[in-house]
Symmetry: C2
Subunit: 497 residues, 2 copies
Amino acid sequence: MLSISSNPTGSSSSTTKVLTGNNMNPRVRKAEYAVRGELAIRSEKIKVELANGGSFPFQRVVGCNIGNPQALDQKPITFFRQVASLVEYSDLLKEENRELALKLYASDAIDRAKLLLANIGSVGAYSHSQGIPLIRENVARFISDRDGFPADPSKIFLTQGASAGVQLTLQMIVEHPDVGIMIPIPQYPLYTATLAVLDAKPVPYYLDEAKAWGLTTEELQRSYDEAAKSGVDTRALVIINPGNPTGQCLSEENMREIIEFCRKNRVILLADEVYQTNIYQPEQRPFHSFKKVLKSMGPQYEGFEMISYHSISKGMIGECGRRGGYFECEGLDQSIMDEIYKISSISLCPNVQGQIMVDLMVNPPKKGDPSYALYKQEYDDIYFSLIKRAKKLEDMFNNLEGCTCNSADGAMYLFPQIRLSKKAIAAAEHAGKAPDQFYCMALLEATGVCMVAGSGFGQVEGTAHFRSTFLPQPELFDEFCAGITQFHAGFMDKYRD
Amino acid sequence: MLSISSNPTGSSSSTTKVLTGNNMNPRVRKAEYAVRGELAIRSEKIKVELANGGSFPFQRVVGCNIGNPQALDQKPITFFRQVASLVEYSDLLKEENRELALKLYASDAIDRAKLLLANIGSVGAYSHSQGIPLIRENVARFISDRDGFPADPSKIFLTQGASAGVQLTLQMIVEHPDVGIMIPIPQYPLYTATLAVLDAKPVPYYLDEAKAWGLTTEELQRSYDEAAKSGVDTRALVIINPGNPTGQCLSEENMREIIEFCRKNRVILLADEVYQTNIYQPEQRPFHSFKKVLKSMGPQYEGFEMISYHSISKGMIGECGRRGGYFECEGLDQSIMDEIYKISSISLCPNVQGQIMVDLMVNPPKKGDPSYALYKQEYDDIYFSLIKRAKKLEDMFNNLEGCTCNSADGAMYLFPQIRLSKKAIAAAEHAGKAPDQFYCMALLEATGVCMVAGSGFGQVEGTAHFRSTFLPQPELFDEFCAGITQFHAGFMDKYRD
């Protein structure tokens, strides 16, 4: 045995650990996830130091590295939280407590909690591994109302967030190390991280920054063909729509071309649609689901294989910490559906609290319901504020020296390009960092603003970008923009060639 | 490309799916998880048919296949649920609502909810990927109070249940397909399923049924050496204590031997201790944590590598559906700790509702607190009822023809052996099933009781067992036992040689 012969004395002192960076799972070691990488870790440390009286040139850390609205004080939707509160403590639903409960909770929240508990039993029990049947029925109704085409609850799996769904389904597909999965560049790094762990080949296709992060099937075909030439067996195509980190929103025509590309090349379409309600130009750039576009394309696309993902973490809900979401399977072989069930059952079930929030997402208060007016107001307040903040931040970036930024059709991010001086690039190299990582680290240390460098998402060689959410609090937003502007001017001056 | 050449027309009709059982991930296909396998799937179908007026020789399905207490009407702990309810809807904590809230919630539940929210912010925000710092501090205090040795919050990771922790940490260890992980036989099938997906080698060691499911280091060494001879590089040893499905509880002396075995053979100890409070013979067979035993063994064990797992799903809490737990790392290399953090961060964070229940588990009401009396009463009611039901079911099994059953020192299960007739074995073979699977399926169809066949856990070749929880409702327990007894007599008669 290797492990014995290398250490015949059997000592377990710290210099001869059984498990080390050198003999651990190399696929895990290879995985990178910049959204919570070096910059985020440093920002967490600064937070702790600030709390302990440490001195920094700023009062607070502003986490723009991750779409985490409630961490930046976005108010949760009251109706959703009332239901979440009621299902936890069913004494509140007893008839003898009704009068009291009605002073604290809306009557339709009480009704909804009762209905859910009648179906679920206890929120502390494992549920069906695929998700609570009633909630899957409600998801199916939501999808069919959205798309105008039927959806089947037996094809829907509730998950602990969209990330868990993506990880689970990619795991089904990767047969061997030459299996390729097409991913956009720039991409959300969940994809590259998961493919590294699964030992599969990322097959990159590039979004065209000069054309508002446009996606062409010519580029898809180039990417596919190039991978094929090097022996990669491409099995699936990931589309993030609206885009992350890029925010673009696909046209129906473009989506039809993408579906045709998949059919022709025999790849499964994986549609990450978690930002489907974060749409900021609803007239010019509305959201279309791939399911709807597919179903409108006629019978020759019958049996087309697709998985689409949704989440409670984004939209105007922002219930990230609860970990809830779902995916819908379209056209998958029954044997694969059975295997997805099996692998879900090993983890027993998605957490019930997350499942309940999925129910609320797909079935919010309706006109005429007691909670509707408040729901609508809270929803709209968040929505219109996001539009305003997106535009403000975009304008700010476009006014920075050497910086250009496409506008966001959707999602929660901007992904500006910065052109750094030779001197700055040399300083970054000296510090052992990618230029954009160097810039973002300087920004964090100077302002407390934590963004993610473009190198974490992938970008055209030789360019530099960063991703920022536009989620900081409305009342702090001008201060936030001013801080970045001031830092940027100083940085550019310091490293002027 | 294989996928093209096999289907040059590019058609995607159902006979030529891109993804099939034949080209999916073979490691996933290989995984088996009997706890929610054929029997559980059939029982779910019967439930639906019963609800739709289907006719069966019983009124209800009784799920004894899985430790899911609240699905069988175990009442949740009131204090825990009050806090869970309050943190969801922070309006309840406002001063102007205090008077009202106090009519529905205990004052210490309100205080705890305030404290948690002051630390967490919103329960809808992503938390620290390792888990909320305050809660990790409380876990560390719980461990050090339990063991009398210090624990370090930075070595604790909160998880979405113990299963998620086991999967994550096994994933770290499996470097290549010849890596072996020692597992007990019988075992909880999470382990074989996870090792199949990770493409690692299970290295089985046998528990001795004749000696109350005893575990000897001679057997551990035999297992290790045999694996080594066939080229397996064993890296870790899984111990489930108290045992699942076997319920045995290890003595301190036995645990010292196991630790010494690990040190000598250079394997990491993975201690699954999720049933640590399900202890039914506390005088003769108390629970000792591996952490405590290790720390009492002196300085030559400094740096010993171990991971131990705990959960909110078991004990008297039974909050399975919430998915919460933690693992504590002992002696791991810092590079490994960093990698565990990175891989956790890709999934963003464990769900916050599960984290909060971990806090409540490790920090329940104390003597003198307003909620203490009720908490103590609820806890004891469940505990003493479990002891009673365990004994009743054990006696019932031991009174069945051809059936013997060790008593449970701990956990939630009994794992009786049944000796089936040649005729029954032939009938099982004819039906294409393992004999115990055949028996359990007949039991389900006749009585509505769903158990899991021993073949799903592993057992000595040629023996037959099944696992049953003793969780059915106290008021239905006699009826439940009578149903099994009657079925068994009929089955034995039907297949008498």
